[in-house]
Amino acid sequence: MYWILALISGCLLAVMIFLNGALAAAIGPVEGSLVVHGVGLLVASALVFLIRETSATPGLKAPWWAYLGGAFGAVLVIISGITVNSEIGVAGTISMLLLGQVLAGMLTDQFGWFGLPRRRVTLLDLAQVVLVLGGSGLLLYG
């Protein structure tokens, strides 16, 4: 049951990138990112108000830099607003976002950045990069 929910939320993400792209095309990528975060803020406020938080760990203090994650998100929405409307389209943008995440994940694992446990990059990790890279290449240039 829950795996269908996971699939649906993935579909929603693609629709979101497409909608944000349409907004960026109409009012500009930076303005679009502002509106996306404004609307998201309203909905997130409602969610905080309506849903009781269960995932917090009592007594675990967050490092100050953890609060700055939204800054990267703001720039990301500007970037995807531009690339979705370029010739690489929604699929090209998402496949590159995916590849960038896989590479960044490998780096943080290898060096144990942000207090995450260190894990050596294996052949299977590299196989993943090759598959995502190859698949993106076919989507972009096929």
Partner: protein, 147 residues
């Protein structure tokens, strides 16, 4: 085309940083409050940029169709869905399924928009990416077997 590809790749790095920091914050203060902080910081950062840098180029909000404004709402909803799904089926499986969903829908959107010349090659590319998405899942299965 190459510039846009690299630009989107940079976006992926930023997305990873965003997810790592926001989920670390979520561990301390909870997923929904963490999503709230994500949007507040982004919003507060962008307001002066739009007002000061882009002020001369004022665009009317009505330039965009109403549905284009729903992206931010989906973003907040996505956080809620992930925090329901991930504890129940595990992050690796959840992520692989999410990637499958997002790549399938985005390829469909591009196909409808006429941005895909050869559906066969696009389908093959889609299959490779989805196979790649399930590799961490395969690694977990192998690790559990050898333990």
């Amino acid at each position: 085309m190459v510039e846009m590809t690299l630009f989107a790749l940079l976006g992926g790095f930023l997305l990873a940083l965003n997810r790592i920091l926001i989920s670390r914050l979520g561990m301390s203060i909870g997923a929904f409050r963490s999503s709230w902080w994500n949007h507040v910081v982004g919003f507060v950062l962008l307001v002066p940029i739009v007002l000061l840098v882009l002020a001369p180029r004022t665009t009317a909000l009505s330039d965009a169709p109403w549905w284009a404004y729903m992206g931010g709402a989906i973003g907040a909803l996505f956080v809620a869905l992930s925090s329901i799904v991930i504890p129940r089926i595990g992050a690796t499986t959840a992520l692989a399924l999410m990637i499958t969903g997002q790549m399938t829908i985005s390829t469909l959107i591009d196909f409808r928009l006429g941005k895909i010349d050869s559906p066969e090659i696009a389908l093959l590319g889609l299959a490779l990416i989805i196979a790649g998405a399930f590799i961490p899942k395969a690694r977990r299965v192998i690790q559990e077997d050898t333990r």
